[in-house]
Amino acid sequence: MNKPVAEAPSASARSAADLPTQVPGFDRRHLLTTAQMAAFVSEGFLRFDALVPAELCNALMAELNDGLYRPYETEGADWEAIWPEPLAAGRIFRMPEVHGIIESLVGPHPRYDHHCPHLRTGPDNGHQGLHQDAEFDPRPSGFDIQVSFFPHDIGPEHGGTMFVPGSHFRRVHESEIGRYQNVLGQVQTVCKAGTLVFWHADLWHAGRANRTATERYMFKLRLNPMVRQLKLWNTDDLHDPAVIAGVKKVLKRGQPWFGQQNRIETMNRVRLWRELTGDPTFDLNMYWTRTGNAPQAGYRPVR
């Protein structure tokens, strides 16, 4: 049974900058912390285990099995208008805890890009090839996010989404990385029902084979920012020296697959952190400070 979802107005019909930054009564405690943002910049994803209550998980599963969520519907619509009450997806993604994470990453009033319920009927032995979604992402700054929601328990044999931490700065062409079967440090999702993974849309990932005799769902949502991604999280602690020391430690955290490119990966993290904080002086190991040093002032020795 396919029930049509109400047509949503286009996000381009109004300017996000003209809208209130946060919904009335929104509790800022639901925004990400500076430490969490640093982890997102470093690894390219944040995972929140069993954040969504079982009642909503079960409601979404029932609606998925009823065929209510056709993928890619209403692309480009206002995010707030997607999945109106009482649809479970709307209730899940507008939970204050979820709303706060989304707003921290892409700001208020993001644009709905698309969603897709990924269903894998087991048992099968076909791993999906590693890929980056959509097309080449040539943007010099800014990023989309994708949210993977797991409405039921995902065991090791379910083939939950595999991510390559730290791969989001790599500019590659979609599934051309399918040649890479194993990358040291890759993480396959094994989780309890209600778990959400918020990830940079350029992160390398793949679904793995579902070796069980059951169906495995992963509900994916993509959102575009409609404002500049500048200090959107709870930045109350941004000038705390202890917090910044922690940020530096996290941004230096390497991945086992980086190899010789480890320093360049660090530089790309610094570049994104500068954009997100509006601080062009932030640096690690003086990498950008050194490479950007080209003094022009003349020097006349005293004789």
């Binding site: 032995n125 076909g126 791993h127 595999m162 700065f169 790599r170 500019r171 590659v172 051309e176 990385i177 040649r179 890479y180 079967q181 194993n182 990358v183 040291l184 890759q186 396959q188 793995r208 086992p256 697959w257 980086f258 190899g259 010789q260 490119q261 360049i264 990966e265 530089m267 790309n268 570049r271």
Partner: protein, 106 residues
């Protein structure tokens, strides 16, 4: 002048091993890997937590023959800090006979 004896590849099929190393040295650590087996109809098993060999040379010592390594290329000016595909790719092969049905079912 002595010549190397001809090696017959009749009845043999190719197995490929792709290794991605931490740097250009074939002694460097393997950071990613793939296998493609022309002797089998099975899809490759993935998600092994450990690479099949610690280094490129370790694979060579186990009989894998290197057939291609990535060339050293400096990035275009202005793109020194842009990253894309994995570098330091080493492609190795083995030639092996196709298993008989009896050997497969054993």
């Amino acid at each position: 002048m002595p010549t190397a004896p001809a090696i017959s590849t009749a009845g043999l099929r190719q197995k490929l091993l792709f290794l991605y190393l931490a740097n250009t040295d074939l002694h460097a650590a393997v950071v990613a890997w793939s296998t493609f087996d022309g002797t089998s109809n099975d899809r490759p098993e993935m998600d092994d937590p450990d690479p099949p060999y610690a280094t490129g040379v370790a694979a060579m010592r186990d009989g894998w023959r290197v057939i291609q390594v990535s060339p050293l290329q400096r990035p275009p000016a202005g793109q020194e800090f842009e990253l894309g595909y994995l570098k330091h790719e080493v492609i190795l092969e083995k030639l092996e006979p196709v298993p008989t049905e009896k050997e497969v079912s054993a």
